[in-house]
């Protein structure tokens, strides 16, 4: 599903910063993996590249067989919209839109009709057990509920992969466990390829495989 071959990334500057030093990585369809590393290890940059949020300088990145390289803003937006479901540490819900509208937003950018959008969004909310919270604003939801809304939003476009950036970072341990359960269930039941970036060993331990990154290189791919 994901294949990286000798991916390099350097941030230009007075002192150019070589953050990714020839990353080779393969994640198969249906895997639940975690990427772990200290801050400054290049973990975030790798996530940005996997999520088509940023470009890389050399190498190749295939996502579901498509070469993702040097895309224009519009193509990148389209690929992100259709292939990737994002889950963020701070949920990143739009605070003046209610749960249903937040979940439906990616479909809005696909040009899906309002009615269909709301139906699909409602299905995802039901799946997350939040049907009764559909009209609540994010401010009226608990952390766990917010993250479940965010997961519903990630799933609504039926993406190829879920990319989660520290999805439990802002949650207490109990809620963290609930959220991890959701990821595991999703992965087990629907075979959703899921990549979780984390520095929490407990989260890493619950995934099929831990990819460790340090100083811009992958050190273990156990």
């Amino acid at each position: 599903m994901i294949r990286l071959h000798d991916v390099n990334k350097t941030y230009p500057g007075a002192v150019p910063l070589h953050v990714l030093k020839g990353i080779n990585l393969e994640i198969r369809k249906g895997e639940l993996v975690s990427i772990m590393g200290a801050s400054g290890s290049g973990k975030s940059t790798l996530l940005n590249i996997l999520g088509i949020l940023d470009n890389y300088d050399s190498g190749e990145y295939f996502l579901n067989g498509t070469l993702i390289k040097d895309l224009g803003e519009n193509r990148a937006a389209e690929f992100r919209n259709r292939m990737i479901g994002f889950v963020f540490q701070s949920f990143n819900l739009i605070n003046y839109k209610n749960a249903l509208e937040n979940v439906a937003l990616p479909l809005f950018y696909q040009g899906v009709s309002r009615k269909k959008r709301n139906t699909l969004a409602m299905e995802q909310l039901e799946r997350m057990g939040l049907a009764d919270r559909a009209t609540h604003l994010p401010g009226e939801l608990s952390g766990g509920q917010k993250q479940r809304v965010a997961i519903a939003r990630a799933l609504v476009t039926n993406p190829d992969i879920i990319l989660a950036d520290e999805p439990t970072g802002a949650l207490d341990s109990r809620t963290s466990a609930d959220v991890m359960d959701i990821f595991k269930t999703l992965n087990r039941d629907t075979g959703m390829t899921t990549v979780i970036v984390t520095h929490d060993p407990n989260v890493g331990a619950q995934t099929d495989r831990i990819i460790r990154i340090s100083d811009g290189k992958i050190i273990t791919e156990a």
């Binding site: 975030s44 949020l53 940023d54 937006a77 389209e78």
Partner: protein, 409 residues
């Protein structure tokens, strides 16, 4: 479209106070524009009404005195316009002269009707003369017509005050059909004019000709023009009349004191030009006022884009194309501008109506009013203004990278 509107409404509602405060400056700008346009329009309409009721396509000529010697005549010679000049002008300038008329002033003599009498010096005028007057209008009866002129009819139009004096027992309007005597002749009253500013007694020009002793001298002439549309036409007509009269009366056509000429046509043209300059000035003033509002909106959109950097990043991350972001910011800006602009239009219109109510009786201005066309123009201005205000903030929003979504607030 509806989705876009929803998006806009949500975003605006989210920042209600800020939106309202900014919008107020636009409302104010539009309010000023509308009020200024309304007042300027009223002034211009007033001018137009005067010009048209004054039958602007005419040139008035008064006889003067030469200021230089010409063809053996000494300077200081008095020029006398003659009835024959009327025919000459009509004959020689068929292309632009539609009619030539003159006013003949008769001596003051007793004008009596019934048992009462007044002293009056009737003015001999051409057909339709009263209808062309600015300072009075017919209250009852009819104007002098071509038939009266042709027949030298002994008819008369008198001001209301004379009707009251001469026939104290009846309503002034009922004086029509009564007879009065002047200079030993019996005249039929055919019309009453209001005479608030102008207390003249009018009789047909040809009738007056019979009454005056020096039948050969006209005080003034009025040339009605046709086929004139430009400033040049008007000046050429004036030039032609001057040359013809100069050759008939043997004076230097360049002698500016031999004739006194008032060219209402070119004056009206100049007036209209001044009017359009006034209108332009008002638009410029109004737009400058509006500019303050636009700068405000632009500013607030910048703040909005900055505050929503994270939100825009999220939208980009989940698949918003740059164009969607651009459209949204522009649309928000246009929405604020148009919404508050219309508030300004409504308040401005109300204010203009209020002014109209109080100015109803004043003479310097017609009723100020806001026309539909003006509302359309202002709407166009608003949309353009809104788009302009949103343009730079929207371009700034385009620079927001989707990676922003990952940055923690």
């Amino acid at each position: 479209m509806r989705d876009l509107l929803d998006e806009i409404m949500q975003a605006l509602r989210h920042n209600r106070l800020r939106t309202a405060l900014t919008g107020l400056s636009v409302s104010w700008g539009i309010f000023m524009l509308i009020v200024l346009l309304g007042l300027a329009g009223a002034t211009l309409r007033n001018f137009e009404e005067n010009v048209s009721s004054d039958s602007s396509a005419k040139i008035s000529v008064w006889a003067g005195q030469t200021s230089r010697p010409y063809k053996g005549n000494r300077e200081g010679r008095r020029i006398h316009l003659r009835p024959a000049d009327i025919a000459t002008l009509k004959e020689q300038h068929k292309e632009f002269v539609s009619d030539v008329s003159s006013i003949i002033y008769c001596n003051y003599q007793e004008l009596s009707g019934g048992s009462e009498s007044v002293s009056a010096g009737p003015e001999g005028v051409s057909a339709g003369f009263i209808g062309r007057q600015r300072f009075t209008k017919l209250m009852a009866g009819r104007d002098i017509n071509a038939h009266d002129i042709a027949a030298s009819a002994k008819i008369m139009i008198i001001p209301e005050s004379y009707a009251k004096t001469l026939f104290p027992d009846i309503d002034p309007a009922h004086a029509i059909g009564r007879r009065v005597s002047y200079a030993g002749l019996s005249f039929l009253i055919v019309g009453i004019h209001d005479g608030r500013w102008d207390r003249s007694v009018y009789i047909p020009f040809t009738t007056a000709m019979m009454l005056v002793e020096n039948k050969d001298a006209l005080g003034s002439m009025e040339v009605a023009l046709k086929n004139v549309s430009t400033m040049e036409d008007g000046e050429a007509a004036e030039e032609g009349i001057t040359r013809t009269l100069a050759s008939v009366h043997d004076f230097d056509p360049d002698d500016s004191s031999a004739l006194w000429i008032s060219n209402s046509f070119t004056q009206a043209m100049q007036g209209r030009k001044a009017g359009s300059i006034l209108q332009l000035a008002v638009w410029i003033l109004g737009l400058l006022t509006l500019l303050t509002g636009i700068v405000g909106i632009s500013n607030i959109m910048f703040v909005s884009v900055r505050e929503r950097t994270h939100e825009i990043g999220i939208r980009r991350a989940i698949g918003a194309r740059p164009r969607s972001i651009l459209t949204q910011i522009l649309a928000e800006s246009v929405a604020i501008t148009v919404l508050f602009g219309y508030i300004g239009i409504v308040l401005g219109t109300a204010f203009v109506q209020l002014l109209a109510f109080f100015l109803k009786e004043s003479d310097g201005m017609s009723e100020p009013a806001v026309s539909l066309g003006m509302a359309f123009q202002v709407t166009a201005v608003l949309v353009v203004a809104g788009a302009l205000a949103g343009l730079f903030p929207a371009l700034r929003a385009l620079k927001v990278k989707p990676v922003e979504a990952l940055r923690d607030e």
